[in-house]
Point group: C2
DNA sequence: ATCTTTGTTAACCAAATGGTTAAACCGTAT
DNA sequence: ATACGGTTTAACCATTTGGTTAACAAAGAT
């Protein structure tokens, strides 16, 4: 592993745990086991190091959504595939959703730079497919954007609010992961059940 | 408005916008239009000022959940009342959910102190009521905690991830609020629809 | 009137923090 | 061997930041 990779991985860990404002350059250097000056040698400054980490995180999350949502499957199958693969991915990267949401809220100006990104999640295709299936009588009449919001909410929220959820429901890490495993299939069936004619 | 109230309100604004780590004592003082030393005169230090704000925020969110969830209504009516009143409240306080979630994730030790709070959301009653209605054949057999998670997810997530949602769906503030208004009733019906026998 | 308590401020301080610099290290081509 | 390029570090620096102090003002209490 190159020094640059070591720094990047350590920065990912620290930024995702503490956010941009809470992260300390020294802590990242310690985590990587190198001198603080190396951070600046490799990544110029905190902002650029952060952006590298954030872009990477976002770049992992976004394409998956597009891949599945732009396939040739029916809406129902897309929902099934999305929830399953997305939860699988996030179980492996449990800090990611909260990290992305937090930094987008704390730094709205930053959000704008992603709206132009070609890899950004683009739901227009799925929206028109939903409209078509509504017209065809496969799906009940609903606002497609509301449906999309429901899918994302049910999938992402438990991870984003992990600590609160564990605290409120009084469940252990293991029990939480067990519940997330169940959700891989249960969410899709619940959504489909509520919108099918 | 007393000086203490001015400080508290300003602190609420700044902490909710930037989080604990990102907030600056000077910025809070400026927002309140007073000298920085007054912050320490009234609230001792940053941590205690933050805790006052956080407790207040949490204290506004939590009781509402309990009030509704411990009433004598059926599960369906509880879901209807909860989603409606909760979304109404959060529309007026759109920063609250993300603030609470963020600080709970960034400071897990802090979470623990709330598990003992008498006002913490306590879902045990609702869970057993759900189990009863399942046994009575009113509700399909499901994991009550999953149902609870679904209700919270659909209600809170769009607010917690507001910036991301607006960016992804390409909607304005007004369109967002309009969608949230719709959700006051649509979420409840969607959930009920998916679990009723 | 003056003493005391409470509220308020300007100036100050020590520690933390992001960032820089100049020197040392190290493999390699000459 | 040595000169050279990129890599790495210890020491340093300027600024920011949370927090303190001592003086000042205002309002009751005696």
């Amino acid at each position: 592993m190159t020094t640059e990779e070591k720094i990047f991985n350590s920065a990912r860990i620290i930024f995702q745990k503490k956010g941009f404002a809470g992260a300390r350059m020294q802590e990242i250097a310690d985590e990587a086991g190198i001198n603080k000056a190396m951070l600046h040698y490799c990544f110029k400054n905190k902002q650029l190091l952060f952006e590298a980490v954030f872009m990477n995180a976002f770049g992992q999350l976004a394409p998956q959504i597009n891949d599945i949502f732009s396939s040739n499957d029916s809406v129902f199958d897309k929902i099934r595939k999305f929830t399953h693969s997305y939860i699988s991915f996030v179980i492996q990267n449990p800090y990611l959703p909260q990290f992305v949401i937090q930094e987008m809220n704390n730094n709205p100006a930053f959000v704008m730079s992603f709206l132009k990104n070609e890899n950004r999640p683009n739901p227009t295709l799925l929206v028109s497919q939903i409209e078509k299936e509504i017209a065809d009588g496969i799906i009940k009449p609903i606002n497609p954007k509301q449906l999309l919001m429901n899918i994302i909410s049910l999938t992402v929220f438990p991870f984003a609010a992990q600590m609160m959820v564990k605290g409120m429901l009084q469940i252990s890490d293991a029990a939480f992961n067990q519940m997330m495993e169940e959700r891989k299939t249960s969410i899709a069936e619940q959504i489909i059940n509520s919108i099918k004619r």
